[in-house]
Symmetry: C2
Amino acid sequence: MANVSKFDRADVLEKATQLFWERGYIGTSTRELQSALDMRPGSIYAAFGSKADLFATVLNHYAQALTEQLNTQVMNNANALQAFQQLLHDLVLCPNNTRPSEMCMLAKTLAELDESHSEILSLVRTLLNQVEARFADVFTKAKEQGNLPAGTDVVAAAKTLQISIIGWRSYLKATRDTQVVEQQIEQLFQQLTHPIH
Amino acid sequence: MANVSKFDRADVLEKATQLFWERGYIGTSTRELQSALDMRPGSIYAAFGSKADLFATVLNHYAQALTEQLNTQVMNNANALQAFQQLLHDLVLCPNNTRPSEMCMLAKTLAELDESHSEILSLVRTLLNQVEARFADVFTKAKEQGNLPAGTDVVAAAKTLQISIIGWRSYLKATRDTQVVEQQIEQLFQQLTHPIH
DNA sequence: GATTTTTTTGAACGAATGTTCAAGTAGCGT
DNA sequence: ACGCTACTTGAACATTCGTTCAAAAAAATC
């Protein structure tokens, strides 16, 4: 089986995402990748370049999947804010324990690496920024739909949410206390819809 | 120079903390440790056991230093809440960029490692829990001093703060936007002292 | 069906990993 | 002064690391 047919790129990327997400960039060896992807080193290097390149591809894949979920499940919804809260609830609390890590993969990578991996780090920064911008989009839509006060600073709200999500998911990994996080999500949306004056 | 005299344990631990904090547990090699500590492998292993043992010692050292700072600078203060806010401000924003990482070392380790390093992970969980308990102590003191409403749930407040700090410091590493974090600290203490009813 | 083109294979590379240990060395008690 | 003890040293160990590449294999082209 060679030439053209080869492997299913989407499937392979998904498997690589799972492994990197669980083990981290440094913590994942290329041999573990080889067995997880069921590919030999030559093929992996021909297809993706290096370990760092594959990881970058995986990060893009991860962020794009998140963005698509936001578009299909939230932006195309008559009540974007409610759909957003629901999605966040599911994404953060993750009823089925099917995820490789409680942490957001971007936040996990941000925490793991120092400036000696500046290329990956700046990609993570870019992607986190992109996600934050989509959060702002959602809030803008919610404002248009009349579910957020007209005076809401959507950019500030997006920043706050980004900070909160990273905190929630870290706290979840630390304590596994879903109740606290559930309350915090509700509280944040409460404050957004009914701010202090 | 042998027998008894040996090395300065506090100094060596501090240097190990710096390196581990910057590079992470997996990302720090024992050779890097050897040159950072100016010790040969045999000495390190005789003094601390293994890389994992040294890292555990470092984590305890880190958490204890934090607790001591909390005791001396906050608990022994006539206005514990104000001193606490000041300490948090300095600790999170870190005017001199002298720290190995913007992240909290406990949060960084929590993010880095998966369950295959269960011993270290459970130590991190314990230490985060201890720190959170000290936060609650501070809030209790602030309540006694009349700087927090009598009805304040100090445990819940400590959890919220723990979540926030992790979020803030991660966000700081991602964006370097000190302004946003400064505002968020102020806002959180605002909400603590003047909650909604 | 022979040739070309592209991919896969898996052994192999040098470097780096965490760790060990025999040998060396310096301060202690006597 | 001299062994005794305790610590340090640095070479060496067996693995594992990320990566390469010649050879094999399989589709595509003619």
